[in-house]
């Protein structure tokens, strides 16, 4: 599951789509607008995001708005945060070392 999340997040277009969706749901057309990409190309990215559980599509047959699903994103962010915390202490010791011995 998280493998799929990270694979989905590895692409800059998909990250940009998620950033846009954090501001609220949007149609495929609205999502495609800021990118130099066709709607089918955006739809392909959306399929990857949907498969990873990062977005869902609305039922409205005409618009089928895309929504952000925060669950897996939160888990992925938690991983990154715990990894960050795991190393921050070491970097703080380096700060002290660099300060102490000019």
């Amino acid at each position: 599951m998280l493998d799929a999340t990270f694979a989905a997040l590895a692409d800059p277009t998909r990250r940009a789509i998620l950033t846009r969706l954090a501001a609220g749901e949007a149609t495929v057309g609205e999502l495609a607008a800021p990118f130099a990409m066709s709607q089918p190309a955006i739809s392909k990215h959306l399929k990857v995001l949907e498969k990873a559980g990062l977005v869902s599509r609305g039922r409205d047959a005409q618009r089928r708005p895309v929504r952000l699903e925060p669950g897996p994103l939160k888990t992925a962010t938690d991983w990154l945060e715990s990894y960050r915390e795991y190393w921050e202490e070491s970097y703080q010791r380096l700060d002290a070392l660099l300060k102490d011995n000019p």
Binding site: F6, S82, Y86, W87, E88, L94, D95, L97, L98
Partner: protein, 155 residues
């Protein structure tokens, strides 16, 4: 100035951190055993022994002490050495807490931003490494609980 972590590709972890010191000094802190022993090691870990043969093809070997007195050894070979801007080396752990070998690239820019990119053999290994602090953190909490419980029983 805290470290930021990202996953630029499915097999990589990248850490970016800024230091208030010139690149030369940060590079020295990455490559001189006496300096490394003062700072290097993830949460709860200290570097106790560092041997470095700083030339391309030269080997490095670290021994670290961790929670509860456990030790962990790792080592590798230097691939690129370009002070003060770039250092590339392989890394492998003796006890195989992750499989295979990773490639570590440290890039120093400005005054001074250190970008460390770890490239693993597979995405599964990368995810395992990324997940491990959380799992290890839980494990350590349980270990502390165990200690607490055993102390209670003894007294």
């Amino acid at each position: 100035m805290s470290v930021t972590v990202s996953t630029p590709s499915p097999r990589e972890i990248r850490m970016v951190r800024t230091f208030a010191a010139p690149r030369e000094r940060v590079f020295a802190a990455l490559t001189e055993p006496a300096l490394l022993k003062n700072w290097y090691g993830a949460k709860g870990w200290w570097l106790t022994d560092a041997e470095i043969d700083l030339r391309v093809g030269g080997a490095w070997r670290f021994v670290s002490a961790g929670p509860g007195g456990i030790t962990m050894a790792s080592g590798g070979v230097y691939r690129e050495i370009a002070p003060p801007s770039r250092l590339v080396y392989t890394e492998r752990f003796d006890d195989q807490w992750y499989a295979g070998e990773s490639l570590v690239t440290a890039e120093l820019t400005g005054a001074t931003t250190l970008t460390t990119t770890l490239l693993f053999e597979t995405r599964e290994i990368r995810d395992h490494v990324l997940r491990s602090p959380m799992e290890r953190g839980l494990g350590e909490s349980y270990a502390r609980l165990d200690t607490l419980f055993s102390e209670r029983t003894e007294s």
